[in-house]
């Protein structure tokens, strides 16, 4: 399992594109928003939590179809499916690799981008915490979507359509945590619910993803 994780990480880093692409996309979204809504600090500070969360979510979405597509094309997914480790573990490792290459850089970079959007005071802390807790859920849910669409020729757009509604609860609780944190309100409830979604997704969704992959490899 560790070997698989390291292999995926190496592939993601050395093949180029995958690693920095999500981050660059996130930056562009953050830069485009002030052009759209105007440079006024108050407005930006007000919408910053939501924009940062939506941007991180879209950046995550961008790299989802790479999770299984290449392995499916060159046949390594068949080998992984017949390997002595359960397919559920393979799927979990794939999601972990996706999180390490996409989610984690987003978590680290988000506070910097927060400066661009005039995020206020406590917001930086809560943004980092909520993204750190929430992005694993995004990766795991996205892996499920990628597993559903792996056999399709043009699965990219369909993948977005399937995954985005599933992202709704995570987005709501994540952005709500930052918003409350920025306004100095109690953040315990949304943060715990966010952590709950992540924990449940990580625990249960790999089974659904593995089932979908088995169907697609049949």
């Amino acid at each position: 399992m560790i070997a698989l994780l390291l292999r995926d990480l190496r592939l993601a880093i050395r093949a180029g594109g995958g690693f920095g692409l999500g981050l660059a996309f996130f930056l562009i979204v953050t830069v485009l928003v002030p052009f759209g809504v105007g440079p006024e600090g108050g407005t930006l500070a007000k919408i910053a939590p939501g924009i940062l969360w939506v941007g991180a979510l879209l950046a995550c979405l961008l790299s989802l179809d790479r999770i299984f597509a290449l392995d499916f094309e060159d046949g390594s997914l068949d080998l992984l499916a017949t390997a002595p480790i359960p397919l559920e573990a393979v799927v979990t490792m794939k999601a972990a690799a996706h999180w390490l290459t996409t989610g984690l850089p987003l978590v680290v970079a988000a506070p910097v981008f927060g400066v661009l959007l005039n995020l206020q005071g406590e917001g930086f802390f809560w943004l980092t915490v909520s993204l750190a807790l929430g992005t694993p859920a995004l990766s795991v849910i996205g892996t499920f979507g990628a597993a559903l669409t792996v056999g399709l020729k043009r699965g990219g757009l369909l993948l977005s359509l399937l995954v985005l509604p599933l992202y709704v609860p995570t987005l709501i609780f994540g952005a709500e945590t930052v918003r409350r944190g920025t306004e100095g309100m109690e953040t315990g409830a949304p943060l715990m619910l966010l952590a709950g979604i992540t924990a449940a997704s990580v625990a249960l969704l790999p089974f659904a993803s593995a089932a979908a992959i088995r169907v697609n490899l049949r």
Partner: protein, 242 residues
């Protein structure tokens, strides 16, 4: 005699052919009767005027939008567990109907909301969760359309339906948490203290029955069409082989 006999497509076709005219007839009677009763023979509300009458379409379609998804969930479970093809086809047949019901509920709600709330749309929890439900229907139908092999499509959409149900429920409560609403609370529950008045209640019941029957009719027709198109494909394949 068990319910699983209807998993046999032949048996299903026979029984549904016999039942279809009856269900259709009852649906027409209940819908026409309920709507005419509701539209012409109930008084105007003292606050809302005649706009209250949109309730006869809005409430039943909203109920069916949710019930259609529940039916798809049950059918998907049956497909996954017992692998009866009729069940998978029924789930496929129900999805566009449920989506249409969701749209009807959203549109009639908007038409009612404009004069009453002064806005076509508000990010109210109920409205928002219906919009999300609509997106779930879209994704489910798109996945059916995208996959060529019927069994693979049935399997994958079933898994999506199961996972989607959990997330749809989760979204419903997340949205509640996110924003306070304009929409009135449930007014048809059996245990609520303040319910809709009896004059509106009886025609509404008839309309709900009409929508349920309409849904059953449409699902039966669409499932029969799916079975027939499946048979046609088998025949064509056999001809090509010969």
């Amino acid at each position: 005699m068990s319910i699983w006999e209807y998993a046999n497509p032949k048996k299903f076709m026979q029984t549904s052919a016999w039942a279809l005219p009856w269900v259709t007839g009852l649906a027409v009677v209940a819908l026409v009767g309920g709507l005419i009763w509701g539209f012409f023979f109930t008084p105007d509300d003292y606050k809302q005027g005649s706009t209250v009458k949109i309730i006869y379409i809005h409430v039943p379609s909203a109920m069916m939008a949710i019930n259609a998804w529940v039916m798809m969930l049950v059918a998907s479970l049956i497909w996954i567990i017992r692998r009866h093809h009729v069940s998978a086809l029924a789930a496929k047949a129900a999805a566009p109907i449920g989506m249409t019901m969701t749209l009807i509920a959203l549109f009639t709600g908007a038409i009612w909301g404009q004069p009453m709330w002064g806005t076509w749309w508000a990010w109210d929890p109920r409205l928002t969760s219906f919009l999300i439900l609509f997106l779930f229907y879209l994704g489910y139908i798109a996945l059916w359309e995208a996959i060529d092999d019927p069994d693979t499509a049935a399997d994958l959409t079933s898994v999506l339906c199961l996972v989607g149900s959990v997330f749809a429920l989760l979204s419903r409560y997340a949205v509640n948490f996110w924003n306070q609403g304009l929409h009135q609370e449930a007014s048809l529950s059996m245990d609520a203290e303040e319910n809709v008045a009896d004059v509106f209640w009886y025609p509404l019941l008839v309309c709900i029955a009409g929508f349920v029957l309409l849904f059953v009719t449409l699902v039966l027709i669409r499932t029969r069409t799916e079975i027939r198109s499946r048979r046609l494909k088998a025949l064509e394949a056999r001809e090509r082989m010969a």
